[in-house]
Symmetry: C2
DNA sequence: GGGTGTTGGTTGTCGATACAAGTAATCGCG
DNA sequence: CGCGATTACTTGTATCGACAACCAACACCC
């Protein structure tokens, strides 16, 4: 019984353990802060952000699912809850009546505008402030290389920065695109 | 209304988006392969591994929770299911009768021994093979820095490599420590 | 214009986790 | 000792996501 498995070298194992730990702890940290301060999961926040940044603050469900790395059923459930809370509205797409459009409401915009500063602060406190500019660039390259394997369709690498919480969310630029 | 939030610079946003995407997609990829090939979630696999590597293949619940980044309630539920499947046994700790010890069974050892090669292959295919040795070292440093923020107790950085799937799991070394 | 297949989305069910509450054993300390 | 506080874990409840099944609309093709 020959075993041709290429087991992990110590350096590989050490890096892997840390990566897994980070991947497991990060979502919980993001959810905890957002739930406490805004009553939103990180996924809900990201979805609302993606809608807000879309032209006319409206986006198709499939496009939104792709932008948020979600399956369509998951997004459907989340969208229903967000709609029940009055944060988004859904309506059939005129061009393709199979499709559904999601639009963020004023209440939704208000909520993410209020939630954004705290979230950005959390991101800085937990991740960005721990890294040097060089490490930030390295992280960008490393995550990009991994995503090529994890997400063969490259949906992510193609989309622009959906989390650019800069002036886009500050208020004016967010609304100016709509009216 | 002054806004003193330090919004994300483009380089920060780009790296952050990729990190979040990686953190969201990685667990699913690991679970999918292990569930398909061994009927285990990645968390269950990691837990069984941690037990197998402990002295006498036995470990306390609290220690195991720390090693696997899990809350105690979560671990308790998982342990019950693993026990029902005959992969581990639980019994009160003799020294401290509040505590519970978990020990992996022969069936559990067999299962992770059979699951390990496929899992290692998945880790290589999705992550390690995408990185250069230099990037591996960078990832180790970056994840270490982030974990210092995410896991203030530093439980993780203190523990040795629980995923070292080398000779430890090959069969002999795993059992030699037990009898 | 009517199959046939594909796309877009929703719904139902089930398993899994978080959170809160509860229990039992141990520790600290007067 | 003996009583409160802490530790270690379990259980119950509610929520969330995965998967599969389903339905409606479009696309094509002859």
């Amino acid at each position: 019984m020959t075993d041709d498995t290429r087991w992990l070298a110590p350096e590989e194992s050490a890096a892997w353990v840390r990566l897994v730990a980070m991947a497991e702890l990060l979502p919980g940290a993001l959810d905890a802060q957002l739930l406490r301060d805004a009553g939103l999961t990180h996924f809900e926040y990201a979805a609302l952000m993606a809608i807000a940044e879309a032209p006319a603050r409206t986006i198709r469900m499939t496009e939104l699912a792709s932008r948020t790395n979600a399956t369509l059923p998951r997004l459907s459930h989340v969208a229903r809850r967000l709609e029940e809370r009055g944060l988004i509205t859904r309506f059939p797409c005129p061009e393709d009546r199979r499709a559904t459009n999601a639009r963020i409401t004023e209440a939704g915009l208000d909520l993410i505008s209020r939630a954004a500063p705290g979230h950005v602060e959390t991101v800085r406190a937990n991740v960005l402030d721990a890294l040097t500019p060089t490490q930030l660039e390295q992280l960008y390259e490393i995550a990009g290389a991994v995503l090529t394997r994890l997400d063969p369709d490259e949906r992510l690498t193609a989309t622009s920065c959906q989390f650019s919480e800069g002036p886009v969310v500050g208020g004016e630029r967010l609304r100016s695109s709509a009216r």
